[in-house]
Every structure is written in structure tokens, then in C-alpha cells.
Symmetry: C2
Subunit: 418 residues, 2 copies
């Protein structure tokens, strides 16, 4: 039996598919009698099947040529699965501890077979809503970001290697355009897709659409998103793209990957932690006011950036005599200068991250796709109150990001506005 | 007869070649008896043949797989001819008045057939050395830059169109790497390729290699050169890539073209005019002190930027409701905001242009390839004096470019240092 043409699978045809693919059937010891398959896709775009048998397990993710949560009326290239697979492998190579292994990829079927992140792995966003602390989270995510971003930049690679890969990922433009629309455009104009907690935030949404200063800043970030091929970024690194346990942190779902600005990934993660922070009061109950948990989130934000910075600079030092083209050792040949350029690089990246993080926050409050952190607050007036403060912080960060010199100043701003 | 494989031509095999190509032989009315062929390549890289017969003429440019002025010991992909041909056509489509028509392109042979820019067309650099004024130069070059840069940016094109072309031009990486080396690296380190007017400038060259602030700035520009896909730039827009008469201005030789920062082209042109300015005292003779000519160069620098700005903004206004992705009319929906974003865009571009222009000046004084403007000053001490002042200005521009608010401030700085 052959799958020589694309076809959407379901729980039963997937078994037939698995039988035709040695790398998958081997994982199950070629025993199919007790196989259990369950579709669990809770994301917006794709179908995800958990496949478990007595002798093994994996996950199958298939892209269909449209956006799942909307339907066939919103077409979306299924080639995104190709870019997701290439990125999982590339990032997995650079950071195996925090990226699931890819067992199989089938371009015709837009289908990825990968490690099943077994329970107690859950989506980080759900853990944050439940108020669970992850003591290793900052350490792990900063490691993932430092290794993948450094390792796909011209700090590490020759221009030749860099441009071959840039060219390939230009092909993922449809996904980039979706981001351009929902992050950098729609929230700043009247759009049928936008929504917010109405009527409470009607004036706030309108204020975003009428804020010239904000629009000047978002234009700069949009151009950077489209034009700056700084590294192979994940492209969708929110807290719903990370699965966690107390010991393990795994980054999934890089279908939006392309060569873009590093700050877009860092900002996505930090911005979504800030959203989680602002949502906490909405989850407070008798006996659990979430105060300590909010402190943990703030510590995690602070540590993530500080650890990222340290690890990134560490990689830079480690590889400074390698093929990376950006800072030739014969030019950057004294410690003082080395420190100057590193400080400048990391300061610029910090400001980028704050800007992109803020943009990601804004779009989750007045744009098309919202976050469960807020959506799960049932009382709309309470929800709107929390969203409004997050929105105010985001606007401040977007407009004044260059005046923040350290992450601790950002934490102070969060505390003041909370 | 077929040329199914690459082979370097010479004056006599070129005739045979022309006979096999209808678009070329038609240009000559298919009469070959009075054909005259002359190799005139004075550039560094390629072979250029002027082909003239009684009934027509053209120019043939062929790339060989090495750097002409060095020889086979410095290999260089002959595919550069492909990128040159594609760019001549693209830029020619956007700005037909200032780009020669391409009659024929043969990828196998790395060969372009184009309009012969007949006398009195000469290379602009030679005109500048001879002290000839070109009253339309600023108007023409600003038009070329505005139309080609705007028309290949996301101000004019959709992201989809943009990324297809970005991907293709990633293929011209060998030429990009040459620029990276000779503009952004070699002048700032000890390199066998560097030279300068020795011993006069020994200390000046050393000072460049020991200037931490300069090295911080050049790193930023190098990253921008590699990472920022802002527009399809010419990539080598110095005064040796422009042919002129009193009425006509034609841009040739875009073999270094790729998607890079617009400021690299603008800076190349302005920086080379500044070099021409500083060289003038070295060309002064009894009865011609070049004083008036220097004023004309300064006016041309000032007008080029001011006209560029005006034309670029004009194109922006004209096409603001087109498919360009950067500033959607539904967001940038009031005149005050439109002016804000335009000012910001043009200010950033101005600073980029000054930085890249300065980098191009520096490399012409202490790097591998020098300019005839200075080289033709026979007295080395006089030459060194002129070069030193140009170098000082360039260092100032590179380090302090963000403090210049208008081109007239640049002109003042040139006057002060002259
Ligand atoms: N490797 C995996 N192991 C376990 N569960 C997974 C795995 N990959 C995805 N999932 C589950 O499927 C959901 C959707 O996966 P995701 O890759 O985010 O798809 P989408 O692109 O549609 O957002 C995740 O939220 C997670 O619950
Ligand atoms: N279309 C043309 N018409 C007339 N002369 C030309 C033309 N193209 C090139 N030339 C002459 O040939 C020289 C080298 O051409 P160029 O394209 O600059 O080659 P290179 O890439 O080797 O620098 C120019 O300086 C000019 O004198
Ligand atoms: Mg997902
Ligand atoms: Mg792994
Ligand atoms: Mg996804
Ligand atoms: Mg030339
Ligand atoms: Mg050339």
C-alpha cells in the first residue's frame, strides 16, 4: 500500500499509514494489535495524533491545506509541515535536550512523526493557569533560545551557509504573512477578525487604533520582521508551544519558522509570561491569592533574560574563532572591544525583544487570537480589568523600550502597573 | 555552430558567437563585413567588448570564473553575470532612462549583450577627475536610486513577491562575501591585501585598525549588509559604475546586486563624490584651482540626497494604496502619521547612507582597491594629505552619523575638514 498522494488521515487510516513506514512501525516493535490512537490537536492549525502501543509510542502531526480552527474557507499551505520538520531537526541538533526527536517526515503527506511527550508533560500555558511552578523553566528556555538563535546566526555560520538556509525559508512566506497580519497589522486597524472583551475594552481597542506613536513603532518592528534575516527563529514561541514537567521542557510546533529577528522569539516567550502574570489575579480563589505564584513568574521572566544573555555570550566566546562571519577575531582582538560589541549586540536584542514581546501581548488582547490565560477568567469585567493593565504595560514597552536598560527595570514597570 | 558549453571569448570567436544569436546579429542588420570589435574592460572583474558595424552596435560583457585584475588565482563564480543581467532588466524596467537596455543574455556563456553607451559617454569618475560638471547628475542618479530602491522594497511589493526575489539573490553570495571582506573586514585588520600611501599614512592605517569605536560601528553595518533584505540594491554604485554625458546618465555593472540595505547604494554614490571632492586640490593646476568645481561637487552631493528624498517620498505617496505591505493605508490613515513614518524612514535611511558611504571611503584609502581620483595624484605626499582628510571625515561620519540631521550639516563637516 502506498500513500503517493496527499490525503488527510484519520484514526483508522493512520494505522494503515504506519504499517507502510518502517521507521514508525519499528517504534511499535511491528506489533499493531494493541495500538491506541487519539487525536488531541488543541492548536489552531493542525491535526495531532498520539499513537501508543505496548512496545512504543510516538506522535503524528499532519498539516491540512487550511487553518483547522477556521476551516477550508481559510486556505493555508500544507508545506508548513516541511518547514516545521526541517526546523525541529535543526533546532533539535543544536539543542537536543529541549526539542522532541523527529522519527519520520513525509513531505507528500505533510506529516511529521516525533517523540510522544508523555504525561506528566502538559502545555506550559495550562500549567501557568493552574499556578504550577517550574523551577527549571528559565534555565531550559534560555538554553533553547541561546543555542538555536546563536547557532543559526552569522555569529556562528559563514555567510554562505547562512544564505542557503535563508533562501530555503523564504518559502515559508505564507506563514510569515499570517503573522504579519495578525500581529503587526490587524490590531492597529478596523478588522473583522479583531475582538476584545466588549464593551469594557471598546475604548482601549479604539485607542490602539488611534495611537500614532504606537503605529510608528509597530511599523519599525514589522519591517524588521520581514527584512531582517538574523537567525532561524521558531516564529511562534508562546507558552502554548512549550510542553513541561518539573524536570523537562520541550519546544514544539515551529511551523512558523523562518530567518527573522531573534527578538521575535525571545519577546514571544517573555510577553506570554507577562500575560500569564497579569491574568493571575483573575484566577485567585479563597486560600490561594496567587501572590507567591506571581512572584515566581516575575523571577522567571528576569532569570530567562539574564540566563539567555549569559548563555548567548558564552556561546559567542566559545565559538569566536569559528567560521562565524560577524566578528572576525583579527578585528575584535582585545577584551575591551569584545565586551563593547557584545554589550551593544545584547542591548539591541533586548530592545527588540521588548518591542516584539509587547506586540505579541497587544495582539492577544485586541486581535483575532486570544490566550486561555485571560479567556478562562469567566467574569468579563474582571477579565477586562486584567487585560487593560497588560495592554497598558505593552503600550509602554513598545513605545519606550529603548529607555529600559535591564530586565529588572521591566519587572519594576510590571509591578507598578499590575 | 553552437556554444553549448562555457568558453571565454576573444575578439575573433565573438564574431562567430554573434552570428549564432539572432537578437545580436539582427542589431547589426545581419551584415558582418565591416564589424569592429574592441575589448575595453577597464574594470576589475570582467571582459567588455564594444561591437560596432555600419548598421548597429552593442556591448558584450562576459564574466570569467575568476577576478580579471588578479587572475585565475582568485576564483569568482561566473554566475555573477546572471545576477547582473536579472538586475539590469529589473532596474531597467523600473528606471528605463538610466539603465542600458539588455538585448541578450546567455547564462551558459555568462554573457550579456546590451546597449553600447556611445561617446561622448564616459565613466563618471573620469569626468570628475577631469573637472567636468554634469548639471543633471544629481537629478538622474536620485531618480535611479529612488525608483530602483523603492520599487524593489516592501513599500511597493507584497511580502510574497519580495521573498521570492530575496531567495533568488541569496545565490549571489560569493559577490556579497567579496564586499564583506574588502569593505567591512580587511581595512580594520592586518591583511596582505591592504595598501595605502606609505609611509605617509602608516600611522593613519594603524589608527583605523586600533579604533574600537570605529570597529563597533563597522560591525553594525556589516550585520545590516548581510541580514537586511530591504531592497534589490546595485551593490557597487560608485562613480566608476556610472557613464555620463551632459544629457545622459547610465548605471552599469550591477553584478554585486542582492537584497541588502538601501543605504549601501546611496552611500556608495555619495561617498565616492566626497572622495572626488577631497581629491580635487591634487588636480589643481595654474589657472584652474578647482575651487568652483569643488562647489559643484558639494552642490551635487546635497541635491542628490534632497532630490532622492523628495522622489522616494513621492513614489511612496503615489503607491500608498498599492500592494506594498509595509504601511497599510487602513493603519497609516492620517496625514500627520503618514508624515511621521516617512520622516522616520528617511532619517534612518540617511544615517545608514552616511555610515555605508563612510565605510566605502575608508576602504578606498586603506583597503585593497583604491580610486583613480587619488591614484592619479602623482606626488605621494600631496596624495596622502588629501587622503588623510577624506579619511578623517569618513571616520567622523561613521562614528557620529546619527547626530547629522540633514545633508547640509554633512556639507558643513566636509568644508571644515577639507
Ligand atoms: N510531541 C508531542 N507529544 C505530546 N503531545 C503533543 C506533541 N505535539 C503536540 N502535542 C499536543 O498537540 C497539541 C497541538 O500541537 P501543536 O504542534 O501545537 O499543533 P498546532 O500547530 O495545531 O498548534 C499540543 O498543544 C499538545 O497538546
Ligand atoms: N554598455 C556599455 N557601453 C559602453 N561602455 C561600456 C559599457 N559597459 C561597460 N563599458 C565599459 O567597460 C568598462 C568595464 O565595464 P564594467 O561593467 O564596469 O565591468 P567590470 O565588472 O569588470 O567592472 C566600463 O568602465 C566602461 O568603460
Ligand atoms: Mg500549537
Ligand atoms: Mg530531544
Ligand atoms: Mg502551530
Ligand atoms: Mg565596473
Ligand atoms: Mg563589476
Amino acid at each position: 500500500m502506498a500513500f503517493s498522494e496527499f490525503r488527510p488521515l484519520n484514526e483508522s487510516s493512520l494505522i494503515e499509514y504506519i504499517k507502510t513506514v518502517p521507521s514508525l512501525s519499528d517504534k511499535l516493535g511491528n506489533k499493531f494489535d494493541d495500538i491506541k490512537i487519539k487525536e488531541v490537536g488543541d492548536g489552531n492549525l493542525n491535526f495531532v495524533y498520539i499513537v501508543v502501543a505496548s512496545s512504543g509510542s510516538f506522535v503524528i502531526k499532519q498539516a491540512l491545506p487550511y487553518v483547522r480552527c477556521i476551516g477550508e474557507s481559510w486556505p493555508m499551505t500544507k508545506e508548513r509541515a516541511y518547514f516545521e520538520a526541517v526546523t525541529l531537526r535543526k533546532h533539535g541538533h543544536l539543542c537536543p535536550n529541549h526539542v522532541p526527536d523527529v522519527y519520520h517526515f513525509d513531505r507528500t503527506m505533510s506529516l511529521i512523526g516525533m517523540r510522544y511527550l508523555e504525561p506528566p508533560h502538559i502545555i506550559l500555558r495550562k500549567g501557568l493557569i493552574a499556578g504550577i511552578e517550574y523551577p527549571l523553566l528559565a534555565d531550559h528556555v534560555s538554553e533553547y533560545m541561546a543555542k538555536t538563535l546563536f547557532g543559526t546566526s552569522i555569529l556562528y555560520n559563514s555567510t554562505t551557509v547562512h544564505k542557503v538556509s535563508v533562501a530555503e525559508f523564504c518559502g515559508n512566506v505564507e506563514l510569515c504573512r499570517l503573522t504579519e497580519q495578525v500581529v503587526f497589522s490587524d490590531p492597529y486597524k478596523v478588522s473583522e477578525y479583531n475582538r476584545w472583551t466588549s464593551p469594557y475594552l471598546d475604548r482601549d481597542a479604539e485607542a490602539v487604533r488611534e495611537d500614532n506613536d504606537l503605529k510608528v513603532e509597530i511599523a519599525e518592528l514589522k519591517a524588521k520582521f520581514i527584512e531582517r534575516t538574523q537567525a532561524l527563529i521558531h516564529g511562534d514561541l508562546h507558552t502554548g508551544s512549550i510542553m513541561v514537567t518539573q524536570e523537562s521542557t520541550q519546544v514544539i510546533d515551529p511551523e512558523f519558522a523562518f530567518y527573522g529577528p531573534m527578538g521575535f522569539d525571545i519577546g514571544a516567550f517573555l510577553g506570554n509570561l507577562i500575560l500569564a502574570f497579569f491574568s493571575q489575579d483573575g484566577h485567585a480563589v479563597e486560600g490561594n491569592d496567587r501572590k507567591l505564584y506571581k512572584e515566581w513568574i516575575l523571577r522567571t521572566i528576569e532569570e530567562t533574560w539574564n540566563l539567555f544573555r549569559k548563555k548567548f555570550v558564552g556561546l559567542w566566546e566559545l565559538h569566536k574563532d569559528g567560521p562565524g562571519e560577524a566578528y572576525l577575531p583579527a578585528i575584535y582582538n582585545n577584551p575591551e572591544l569584545q565586551q563593547l560589541v557584545q554589550n551593544k549586540y545584547l542591548t539591541d536584542l533586548f530592545h527588540d525583544s521588548l518591542g516584539f514581546g509587547a506586540a505579541k501581548m497587544i495582539r492577544r488582547i485586541v486581535g483575532v487570537a486570544h490566550v486561555e490565560d485571560f479567556e478562562s477568567i469567566n467574569d468579563p469585567s474582571k477579565r477586562a480589568g486584567r487585560e487593560r493593565r497588560a495592554l497598558e504595560l505593552a503600550k509602554l514597552l513598545l513605545k519606550k523600550r529603548r529607555s529600559f536598560n535591564s530586565i529588572s527595570q521591566v519587572i519594576s514597570a510590571i509591578r507598578e502597573l499590575q
